[in-house]
Symmetry: C2
DNA sequence: GTCTATACTTGGATAGAC
DNA sequence: GTCTATCCAAGTATAGAC
């Protein structure tokens, strides 16, 4: 029905030029946040990186800020998928931290956390933007909390550490390590800390690899 | 000598109008970094806050970036003094963390760490700026390291935790907590963590308040 | 030496072409 | 519906007034 002769509807079928443009702009925005920083991520800079007219940003996203938010949402979704899989696959605390360290290394190399940091810092320039960024960061705290709950569930630390606060600290540490790594172009210090955390997790959790702690749900 | 009739030398005596202007601009730059963020800290915005012609920024500092660096240096110096005094006065690890928590509360309220965060994040927009910001942040790592060394000196943890890495983590956590606090306008979570850290420090260090650990130098 | 008025450049946004 | 040429505002920087 309604599918007579007019190929004008913007459904996911067809060539979908608009979708391609949107994707190109989002990718260019991510790149720009990474290499130019929030302050340098202008319509012109992003347009140049995408090889597209800057005006398209306003047509497709309404404003530069909204495109940057879309970029943040995209990065957040991509990484959340990656981390979720990792958390699900890990069976011991030590293993969890080791796997997380590997992904964090990716984050540093690919500049994903840089995007978060730039958006959080850039959010200071407008209260409205701040709220929207906060909404996009919130899932990460919830995620960190779930991961920590899984770790301390069968450990005596459960009562000692309030998971909400611990999650807050982990997210903060993540952001801070990224900032410092980026600042002096050296990820070694951050990665060393992850190794150390892995060791501690093994010690405080349980070093026994035969622990049948799977399938608690 | 040479002090004939010409009051033209810019020494610290006299009315020192240039010095006053410089100070006003630095203060306005700090305010702007705090409330407008790095992206919003333009020559115009700073000039307006100071009630001065934006052109003065270029006369006195050469560029906006250089003024912002001067602002960062100023904040860094002010806070370093405050923290140094606190570290010197504390005698036990628990006390140290408690005192640090109090000053950190000041930092959050007065927006001092915001200035650091904005400058670190903003440094992404230019490699040259990045190096200069890094140079201004470096003393904080050294400071954190000294403080940690003092804490773990007479504790069995000394061998376990490499102080360099620990200092790195503390600075990162500091920056990250500030970012999150600022993002959702809630310092409670960050302050709770400091309380928690104070307790831990007391437990792992020594709870005995009679420890005569002063004057080791 | 200090400061202001102004030139020039870049950025955000849109009217109108396709 | 999609995109480009173009407008106006805001940013940096300086020539010249005081």
């Amino acid at each position: 029905m309604a599918k007579s002769g007019r190929p004008s509807r913007p459904g996911p079928a067809k060539a979908d030029t608009a979708g391609a443009t949107r994707r190109a702009l989002v990718d260019a925005a991510i790149e720009s946040l990474r290499f130019d920083g929030f302050a340098g991520a202008s319509a012109r800079a992003i347009g140049t990186r995408a090889g597209l007219n800057p005006g398209l940003i306003f047509y497709h996203f309404g404003s530069v800020a909204d495109l940057l938010l879309a970029a943040l949402a995209e990065v957040s979704a991509r990484r959340m998928e990656r981390y979720s899989a990792a958390v699900d696959s890990a069976t011991t605390p030590g293993e969890l931290v080791t796997v997380a360290a590997g992904i964090f290394r990716e984050d540093l190399d690919e500049g994903y956390v840089t995007v978060l940091v730039e958006m959080i810092a850039g959010a200071s320039s407008s209260p409205a933007l701040g709220e929207q960024v906060a909404a996009l960061i919130a899932p990460w705290r919830a995620f960190a909390q779930r991961a920590i709950e899984a770790i301390v569930a069968d450990s005596p630390l459960a009562a000692l550490v309030p998971v909400g606060d611990a999650a807050h600290a982990v997210v903060a540490l993540y952001l801070g390590l990224e900032m410092l790594s980026h600042l002096d172009g050296d990820r070694a210090a951050a990665l060393r800390l992850f190794d150390r955390a892995g060791q501690l997790a093994s010690v405080f959790g349980m070093t026994v690899p035969s622990a049948p702690a799977k399938e608690t749900t």
